[in-house]
Symmetry: C2
């Protein structure tokens, strides 16, 4: 494979990854929208769209494999290709978490409503912002933006603890809300994991751009 | 790098991965042991031993990187190296889940005890078996053993649902157990994720041995 052809393959790989990123981002957005607006049809759409993400994951892994097999990519290209492979896996798992949220929404909607959703709207806004910025950091190869994502991981844990505390208090005061409050606990766990995956992606961007491995440097983000 | 040297590097990579696997397996075992035997010191040991796993993860990734950069591995070797990289990441996350369980144990032990642990002992035996067999499948390059792990993923989900149901009933009957029952819900979630990672490892073994991508073939395992 000549160099120009190789560059073109790398560019296509990147485009496919961004397409996948768009799908994963949309799934998360729709899942939380379904929760807050109580829309069963939107939750179901998230379930239907999962297979597109899964197929794209396999396609991207195949491209990674053939680029590694047919070329002998050097340092920067190799870091890029390996990062794509890891980001690909994180995006697929973000999609899985969106599916889990959508399934919780379907169960919640079958029961009498218990609002408020405590701090879940604020937590989901934070997490959606982390996903968006980690992906923008990929596109722009922007290590600084990636670092701003890492910093937000502690806020996610703070929201999670806060939400757990409020929901448990809520459950202790009224046994009738135990079931829906439990579903919201699961949703908060799913949001936490989406934040973890955004953090992984941000770490990969820093590795890709700077060749620096920042995993496990401070708190553990996985 | 000559071929013999390359073979030797591959063998060392495998040995380091197996060392890492042993650490991850031990963490899980100690975390559940700490829960069932109510041993604070064992839970604390899991927290202390996390850094060894994290360091090993980075060392293995560095080896993967240099093998890919210095050699141009062909099909089977390339599949092996990429699988090692993914298994490495799953092992690190298994270690993280063991840490989460250990942290739950420390919180649980600070409160009055509520037994029984419902089906958590059976779920943890199942999950530990999946981890062990997925790792044996790596060592033996045994696709059949790996497939036996995939099959057990549904049992894990069944246990999880059963445990959630029992704990929620328990909570509804007695508000005083809401807090410890909530911690057991988190433990069951952590065990579920450990099972997911064992499933990922089993899928990698099948890919490594047979070159076949079995992800997303039936239910989604991530």
């Amino acid at each position: 494979m000549e160099r120009r052809h190789f560059e073109q393959e790398l560019e296509e790989l990147k485009q496919r990854l961004l397409w996948m990123a768009g799908l994963a981002e949309k799934s998360v957005h729709q899942a939380v929208q379904a929760l807050f607006e109580e829309k069963e049809d939107i939750a179901k759409r998230v379930l239907e769209e999962e297979s597109a993400i899964n197929e794209l994951q396999i396609e991207i892994d195949d491209r990674v494999m053939s680029l590694l097999a047919l070329q002998q990519p050097m340092a920067a290209d190799l870091r890029f290709i390996l990062s794509v492979s890891r980001i690909n896996s994180d995006l697929e798992r973000i999609g899985d978490q969106a599916v889990n949220i959508a399934q919780s929404v379907l169960r919640i909607l079958r029961h009498p409503q218990v609002k408020p959703y405590v701090d879940i709207p604020r937590m989901s806004a934070l997490v959606e912002g982390m996903v968006r910025d980690s992906l923008n950091a990929v596109v722009q190869r922007n290590a600084e933006l990636a670092r701003s994502v890492l910093v937000r991981d502690d806020e996610v844990d703070h929201f999670r603890d806060q939400i757990f505390r409020e929901l448990l208090t809520y459950m202790m005061e009224n046994a009738a809300v135990i079931f829906p409050a439990f579903e919201l606990i699961l949703v908060a766990k799913n949001l936490e994991r989406i934040g973890d995956h955004a953090t992984n992606i941000a770490e990969d961007v820093i590795y890709m751009v700077a060749g620096q491995d920042v995993r496990h440097m401070a708190a553990d983000h996985h």
